[in-house]
Each structure stands twice: as C-alpha cells, then as structure tokens.
Chain length 155, copies 2
DNA sequence: GGAGTGTAGTTGCCAGTGCAATCATTGTCG
DNA sequence: CGACAATGATTGCACTGGCAACTACACTCC
C-alpha cells in the first residue's frame, strides 16, 4: 500500500538517505571542480561528450541525448549551441525525419573527451571507488538496481 | 598513491557509479516534483525548513545554514529573502557578533514543514527506502560512511 | 587606540535552465 | 487530397544561482 498518508521512515533509514544525498553532493561537487580547473570543462559537457562517444556512429537525436543527460529539450538546445560554438559537436539534419536533428561528436570533441576522461576517472576513483571494497560495490550495485527497477516499472 | 595520471576504474565499478547518479537523478527528481505539486514547495525550501527546525532555538546563522543546505552564501541570501517574503522565516540580528544574522523559523514555517514532511517522507519511503531490505540499508550505510570519512579527512 | 587584516552578509551582474509558446514537419482520418 | 492532431526542435521570458565586489563589523598588533 504505497502512498498512505502517515508516512514513516525509520530514523536510521532516513539517515542513510541523507548520507546518500551528502555523498552525491560532495563527490559530484569535487568532480565538477576538478574537471573545470583542469580542463575548463563543465561536467554537463563531459556527459554529453561521453553519451555521443558511446552512441552508434557518434551521434544522437536531440531528444535521446536530452534523456541520457537528464536535461530538458530546451536546455539541451542551448547546451549544444555552446558546444557547437566550441567545435566539440556538430548539428546534422536527420534525413529520415526532417524535423529531427542529430548532435554529432567532432574530432575536436573526441580529443577533448580523451583529455578530460583521465581527470574525471581519476576523480571517480579517488573520491568514490577507491574507498570501497568488492563487497561494498556489489552491495551498492544490488541496492541501486532494486531502486531503479522499481522506478522504471511504475513511475 | 592517489592522483596518478593513468586513471583506471574497473568497468563494473564505473557502472555502479553511474547507477548511483541515476538513482539520485530519478529519486530526487520525483521528490521535487511531488513536493512541488502537492504543496507548491521547492525542495530547497524544504531543506531550509528542516535545517532550521532541527537547530537549537529554531535558528541558524546564515553561514551555517548555507553549509547545511549546500548553497553559496549569496544564493542563500536570495533564498532566505524569498522565504521571508513567504513568512516562513524571519531574520534576526545576532547580538554577540553584529555582522551576523540568524534565519529563524516562524510558526508559519513550522506549519509548512509539518504539512510538507508527510509528502516528502512518503516519497523517500516509496521511491527509495521501500525497495531495500535491512541488509541493503546496512551495506549502504557502511559504504557511504567510508566515502564521507575519506572526503572529510583530505578534501 | 588606530591601521591593517579577516569575516559575515548582501548586492551587481551574468551564465545556465525550465516552461510555455512557436515553427516546421509528419502522420492520420474523412 | 486537405484539415487536424502529434512530434522534434528552437526561442521568449522569467527565475535561480554563483562569483566577485562591496559594506559593516570584529580581531590583532604596534
């Protein structure tokens, strides 16, 4: 019976939720700062570069890209504008459906990603991964998978 | 030897990090939407109300409040401006150190918090807590504590 | 006790973001 | 075919949030 009004969460469980939020804030904040200081690159740009790099043919429709980087479509339009100005991304009209546009990774974008990924991965390792043993990682994977499975089922 | 250049994170560990990000985005997004739809209250406001409610004498110096809700000082000034307009918070000069200001929870703010906490806690339970058994929660607590301990030691 | 340094908070300014409206194109149904 | 709804993307507008500059006050040291 999900959604009843007298909401109770055991205090020690609420504390874990708060730890979760704190870990996110601290680690993501550190990653953002490091990437910006080392390469002048916002984390959102990095996410776009990674998404495009992993996509078939190094390209993604705006809508699909927006879903991956968790942006509104309008926000993504502006973000891609800036990345086009920086020559990391190019726009290409979709011939099958002429309403659609692709964002395409450029060679300069690919190079930027290679340069940045060292900084970023080192950050993930140093601020997060490095502190966890195999059992921790396995347990996190299981717990997160449960949460995500439940969220994608209902909403 | 933290910080070497050839950064390697095992793929399954990187995947867990990505799951972490996705859980955060999905769950926090849902909590924000629910709180806004049910009470017209931004999550940041709720965080401020909780922080003040838990503080001794229902008040906190701007600086301390900024640290708790992870805002810049200037951002917090504006946020408190809006909450003062809404009568949820009052400002009070600090007599010991006349540079300082307290943000103080008003009765209206306390009522707002009571009303909103039902929605929020139900969200935390439904979107996060409810899917995890005791072992999951214990494991998360241990893992998060390790990460946070390491971050507060060095930086 | 007065100059110089440091700290608390606010304000000017600007970058980034989302919502709603809009434009262009596609699909559907009479 | 032609009207009308639906979809992909962009733009107008307003809001939020941070950085740097600023004001006000407190501490230190001569």
């Amino acid at each position: 019976m999900t959604g009843s009004s007298g909401a109770r969460v055991a205090p020690e469980r609420l504390a874990v939720w708060r730890q979760f939020l704190e870990v996110h804030a601290v680690v993501v904040g550190a990653l953002e700062t490091e990437l910006d200081e080392a390469r002048g690159l916002p984390l959102a740009w990095y996410d776009v570069l990674v998404s495009l790099h992993e996509a078939p043919d190094r390209r993604l429709r705006m809508q699909d890209l927006a879903r991956r980087v968790l942006f509104s479509r309008s926000g993504l339009t502006r973000l891609v504008d800036r990345m086009v100005d920086a020559a990391y991304v190019a726009r290409e009209r979709c011939e099958d459906d002429r309403r659609g546009m692709f964002a395409v990774l450029t060679p300069a974008g690919a190079k930027c990603l290679r340069d940045a990924s060292g900084v970023h991965l080192r950050g993930v390792r140093d601020h997060f991964d490095h502190h966890l043993d195999d059992a921790d990682v396995a347990a996190l994977g299981i717990a997160f998978a449960k949460v995500l499975a439940a969220e994608s089922d209902d909403g």
